[in-house]
Symmetry: D3
Subunit: 321 residues, 6 copies
């Protein structure tokens, strides 16, 4: 396998730079901008013939633009005879459109998987995909990394007692359970309910949080609405503290404002999506997972096992020291 | 669109016959057997050139054989110039292999989707897919029917009070919540937990069932092991009755025996998978959903909406009367 | 063939409405908007099973978003079992990225063609593609309509004498010659030249415009920069009037301002791309080509010839009366 | 090319072990079993990222299951980023379904070729394919090895005189002629005939076997029925001994019993398909061709010529010594 | 299905005209010629949008040119929105390259099948394919017609006695046996043999022809060399008359001369390939099978069974009267 | 990457030999001929397993045959397990069929691109493609080399003054302008015009050539008709000399005769297409570009940049010395 080259689109250049720093290679030179008519413009500005190329691009908002940047970069790299193109997509946009929730809806998460393959990508690295089945949307190899053990470890290190891991909806219970399994906490689930046919839908919680430290576990924080409502409910049910641990800081709409004024005491997220520095207030803590992606890229480039990364706690301990 | 023809593999011929009876067409003539060397032998024994063909075949156990029967029938139909081939797969085998739960595992549910497409199938009709994202494994249209509203209605008609819908694991909470949403019941969740790093994994229940009628909701009953353990736990926590409502009666291994000797008071399933008549004892009740598949086939053949089938309760009431 | 249905993305809804008005069908109901996280949201809100569906969507700025809207709508329509999906793309964005002008560039116009095919589109209707070879980027049928004869007729009707058709660059000479061929005008070509190796590149004109009415012919007006410079040169060379006839009003950047302050006396464009009404000042005249697209859609739906549309002048005369 | 790894499905593990012994590598660790619901379960239990992987799996009875095992193993290996996957299929099941012998039949041998390609296999090694054109069913490279020269050599070494090679049907004459060409024997052909329109079909032999040693040559022994009937006819026509030399010991139904009670004096087969040890009676002799497959695997792995293996007699002599 | 249209390439226009005459439709207008630089030039000169189009083109010599004509016509028809394109290939060139007879050879018959599919052909009609497995080279439907029963009937009508059907090589025994099965004749096989390792290869015949009428049966007559040598051998072995019945009159090289001077008394072929009228001397009899192709086209167009055509003798009798 | 191997079809073997001479490797051994029935026959006669193979084959006249030779060679190489197949197509036939100039025409240049990909070619090297968008017809990497700078340099070295670069038609102005840009010449364009609707089409020239040296620049000389007419016009307008510089010497029909008797003083072409030695008269000068192709092949084989070849004048100067 020829030399390793890492390129970045515009979605999260600081993360790409951090990954390069960890590996000890310079970020590949590429013009990724716009023509005056608004069309995305790409020119790879260094030699890639025969190289093992990684493109780091979360498909965060504006998703359509970031998806297209990734596709156009892949097209340029393929036509420039890169030997292998790996799309590193730390946050996979459109992940919630992974099924039809009603008739005549698209399955955009699958469509995007097809588009990525069509553009000439040979393999994908993702991180905490919203639904694990998205991995199966691809026929090319996908390595789905996870930051959940790392986030759980961070919580453990604080030595907090009486923790309850809370799934903010019925679709995320497996993730919350995985989190609490690692830290030996209780579990609670928030679910929608309609008391009577004519009455309005209401939230209900299954499980106990009274006097405990409630930790909402989710893969992403989008508008913050779900989080705010969950925090209210947890506060109302007597939680002595309300935390949220999530991987992807999507922070759409007025999420910062909602979080600020909510009963949330702390929000911990990773940097898969760019968060403006000024918004990192006391409540929001952003932890860096560039080292995790760097490790995966090196292992893929050298043909070493990715699954071994997650088999022992030793791995993270070594890396974290 | 030319004439409607319905064929059946060997996986569930009684269901296919029932569907034909509902629609009022004869089951298509086809030899689907085995050569003496054990290879699957197919010959379509009536004219299908230009026809709108449906093949009814749940990919139940022996799954490999039933999958291959479906593929070989499709190959024969395509080469015989059928205009359109719809695979009707009431139970989609390998559905639990829809993600990698560890490194170096297959995603067999996706592989089978690819095989079906490769064999020339133009569209798929499924029923209560284990994971809704499986729909996205296909690029051809998939209609994912559901028997959950129908099963919920059956329970409602009995007028039982104080019902709690129980998800037997953390992955099925959305399904249990959908069920209880329709009948205004409580929710409970059974989850695995490890108290301390060195202790054994144990089951835990979130929610209350004391003195109530606990209804375990699941998409399929496989070995019955999950069900038996859940029933024990529910009994122990004071449930006054324990029911199970599930769509697919896989009944692998000694499932019948487990159910018989368990704390389960009643098990309700549909006939997507063949259940031997002698095993339909007092506890196990099999309800026929041939009418649901028949309705879907007619709508597809005539170009009418499938989603309309599930938009109003009226539909089922009309059909059930 | 089942019923005709026409849907529109958000790129040029007024054009789609005009097309529907010409044909006498209502515009199909579809939600085409955005989720709060900025992702494109699509739901087709009427029955399309078995229908002959046309989606009208120029891939104008913001191109990435409009391309993705088109792809996601196609995905939804395919999964909803539309019988045939025709993408009507009056302006094909990224058309100038149809070749590599340097090493390691993408060919985005081809990439987009592949994406459209991947999303399930069965055929394409375009209008005055920037390069005719883009038609060959698709393996599905493409009907490339043209508004050039229509624009030429408009000029003829004014009875202006001594017209010179001017190609503003060396790549568009065939188009300018086609235009002038229809109206029996002279031809001129503007070309870049570098007098000596160390001197700056300069514009040069081949042909005579002194005392004549110079009509710049182009497929699109993008930033207006080319047009402004060309108008200056034509004015300087003694043209008594300077017009521009172009199909696609891309009008990127400060195009309106450039046009306003230029030597251009008149700019005639069609409505393939939305032009804000307030910008339609005295200089800029927008002519409607909805009737042309409507005619093509009807012919495709009914299986009648498209090429016949352009074989006689009679066609346009009939339609224009 | 990275390291060589060899895995085996359950169809013929002893052969795979023998191949590994010849090459001097351990058989790759993989779980290839069944879930309790009967579905095939695969987990590759060693690192394969970047490896040159061979999967040895004849698709013998139960064919559907063995085909699916091969496909699922390939899916797992592909998703685990094996660099190249070669399916080694010593006996290619469904090979007799390589054409339509009547209308509306499948061509299952082609379907299986498509399935293998769909599952991600990069190349195939086969042995004495029933019809050589099956090689063309694949677009990936296929190396079709042959054991016929080896079997012919075995016969030559015995020094038997007056041999007649007999094709048991009209489709296998080329194979029988190839065999006798190598050993300078006579040729005879057994063919079906219908004396008069109303009379029953009968067997007829073209050629002379009186007083000679008749050797029936075939690619496989399936139910043994063809063989028994042929042996009867040869005995009846005066053959002094009746042998059968065939590559694939399918031995379906009561083949052993038929052979035992037939006029056959000796049956020589290879071990492409597992033969239960207890059935290897005096009549049936199983010769090992593991060395042949091992040689092919090594040559493919090292990029050396396969066709050179069969160009000279020297190859086999060296290997046999 | 829209209207039926039949077009012809330049390979056998008289046959196409005869087919049109049988069906009662005019031959479609199309320019199929050459540009001055020798490239093939195609323009379809009548409306085909939505039509059910058949292109009649045997890929006879010059094969490369006739294959490309077929592909280019298909490309034009697909881009012109024909609804369905059926390639009618009465003689399938390159059919003898259907397997690798040595290492590093192409399988051109498969390559051509792939090219035909790539060019947009939806289905194929062939006639007496050299190897039936070629049908499996396609994934699109193939109807493989046969003229063998028709040729056999012609012989029967002559009332000749003591007929022996002779296969001129070991690969064609099944075809010769099929022929003789229909007419209750004897069978003989001509095969190559090498007496001793150092001696030259020689022809040998298995079966008896002394005093009989020997009828060589083959699918095609290529250079006539095989035929000449076979006729010599049959004459030498005492045949009282030597005939040849073959479907495809390829007649390459100096085939006419070889036949003229050979011991052949009569050669009967069909008109799948154009035979120059002046070469139809007393020995060579060309029988028209346009009616057979016409019948197949009509059945395909109307969605009626093709296999029914060959199920009874009645079919041909009706058609022949 | 394994060893480099270069093979040649029959279209331009001298060029292939020259390329091999430049690189210092022998031309690969392969039988590329015809069977007696006129079908193309290919056998690769040396080991290619794992090799990096280049096939040199302009698809010049007879184009269909040369295209098929290329496809069949690729099929053989792929099946023989070549690691990578690069088609080197110095002249790309059918390049002028790159768009539909009227309804119901093929886009043969795209069809051929699809055929090449279908045959298993992994990448393409071309030279001065007639339309640059043809590069986008492929999804595999294409390196489009150019001989235009080299031809311009040749002219510069002669020190001729007052040069005008003439585009012989409106489609080639960009190429002529590129040529003159490098040598600082004037530009002129020849275009068709129809004075009045009823009058005949006539040629017109835009630009001045009086007393100058007019150099017609084109990518290919086909029938020579365009060239003859252009030379007449230039002579008539007072050019003191008329030259033609073109890359591809197609020389169809009686091109030599037309050139001989025309006003052309000199014609300079490359050897991408074979020109019979006897036709290289005083007027026609053939310059060798084998070194250019050799350089590209070496760079591709070694993974070095192709675009770097054209970035500086230094490259050619070094090579030419």
């Amino acid at each position: 396998m020829a030399g390793l080259k890492i390129f970045s689109g515009n979605a999260n250049r600081p993360l790409a730079e951090d990954v390069c720093r960890c590996i000890g290679v310079p970020l590949g030179k590429a013009l990724v901008g716009r023509f005056k008519n608004g069309e995305t413009r790409v020119r790879i500005e260094e030699h890639v013939r025969g190289a093992d190329v990684f493109v780091i691009q979360p498909t965060s908002s504006p998703s359509d633009h970031h998806v297209m940047e990734l596709l156009i970069m892949s097209d340029a790299l393929r036509r420039a005879s890169a030997d292998r193109i790996t799309a590193v997509i730390p946050y996979y946009g459109y992940a919630k459109q992974e099924k039809k929730s009603a008739g005549r809806e698209p399955i955009t998460a699958k469509l995007v998987a097809n588009l990525i393959t069509t553009a000439g990508v040979d393999r994908v690295v993702a991180l905490d995909l919203h639904a694990p089945a998205i991995q199966g949307f691809f026929d090319i190899p996908v390595d789905n990394l996870t930051a959940i053990p790392f986030l759980a470890d961070l919580l453990v290190k604080e030595g907090i007692e009486d923790v309850v891991a809370v799934s903010p909806d019925v679709g995320g219970v497996a993730r919350a359970n995985d989190f609490r399994y690692r830290i030996n906490a209780e579990l609670a689930v928030i679910a929608k309910r309609r008391p009577k046919p004519d009455e309005a839908e209401a939230l209900e919680m299954v499980g106990q949080v009274d006097g405990k430290c409630a930790v909402i576990v989710d893969d992403m924080i989008s508008t913050g609405g779900t989080l705010e409502v969950a925090a209210n409910l947890l506060h109302e049910r007597g939680a002595r503290a309300v935390y949220a641990y999530a991987v992807h800081p999507v922070f759409a709409g007025n999420a910062f404002e909602l979080i600020e004024r909510s009963f949330l005491d702390r929000v911990v997220v990773t940097n898969t999506v760019t968060v403006p520095p000024e918004t990192r207030d006391n409540k929001i803590q952003v932890v860096n997972i560039g080292w995790l992606i760097a490790e995966a890229i090196q292992r893929i480039h050298e043909g070493r096992s990715i699954s071994a990364m997650f088999e022992t706690r030793r791995f993270q301990q070594e890396l974290l020291i």
